[in-house]
Symmetry: D2
Subunit: 90 residues, 4 copies
């Protein structure tokens, strides 16, 4: 069995909230709303996405590295986290 | 008339692509996919959101600051950009 | 004359404070301090660097785009800002 | 003994390089150089700081979480990493 996401319900609620924020953004762009308003909506989407990422990465650290069944699994999950984080330091 | 978004069609296409990526993310979470896969999908969403933000902010600089009708409008649009960007330096 | 930095004294004070933080970081690494302490010092350096960047970019928007002598100068300064910001959306 | 940084020499070389970049930045500000040049130097500093953070965080994951002597230590190091990363998702 692969590594799955704990607290699936909470994660899905966060993804859906973010989808709702993107729909509000699309509506605002469609309605030719003020560019400032659009940028504010985008900044909220970014905040929500970062919150979601923090949530999933914390879960990964706790469930798949710290609580790994053995050192091989912990090491693999550690490498996965490092690979994902490389994209944030660029 | 407020400051609207030029190239609305391109912007909406980007928003819709990002919504599609979030739907793929929700599906992967629902299907109990591997946490690593979930993190990769999230990293793509982040890349797409940053691309969208860059697009809208560039438009704001060009249309609403550089090409403002007068200095009062340019100054207001400059303050708006500064306010939005404050959230990125935290 | 090129575009220079207003409030040079304040900017230099910020750069020097950041240099001091980096020296504290080097000392902590030299002294084999706890990795957690090192990461906290790094997070402070990052906060200080972002504050400095926000300061300089705000100055650029106000002095070199909004208050540009003419549209050609504003446009050049706008392009410069866009180029710098591209590196943040990656 | 606390958790120390492996590859101390490489880390210190990175910190010193970053200090050199900050000195170049201070010199450029002192010399009233073009704002665009200043922003480019700042963007390089940010890149160098992110590289350094990636290096130290990777070391923390590998040495202090994956290779922890026991689950208590791994858990403590995991919580430290989560706390540090919270500051990046804001």
């Amino acid at each position: 069995m692969g590594h799955t996401i704990k607290d699936k319900k909470r994660i899905l609620a966060r993804v859906n909230r973010l989808k709702g924020q993107l729909e509000a953004l699309a509506t605002a762009v469609e309605a030719d709303q003020d560019c400032y308003k659009i940028m504010q909506l985008l900044a909220s989407c970014r905040g929500a996405l970062h919150g979601l990422m923090g949530d999933i990465i914390n879960n990964h650290i706790r469930e798949h590295i710290v609580e790994a069944a053995n050192k091989t699994d912990a090491s693999k999950a550690g490498d996965e986290l490092i690979e994902i984080m490389e994209s944030f330091w660029k």
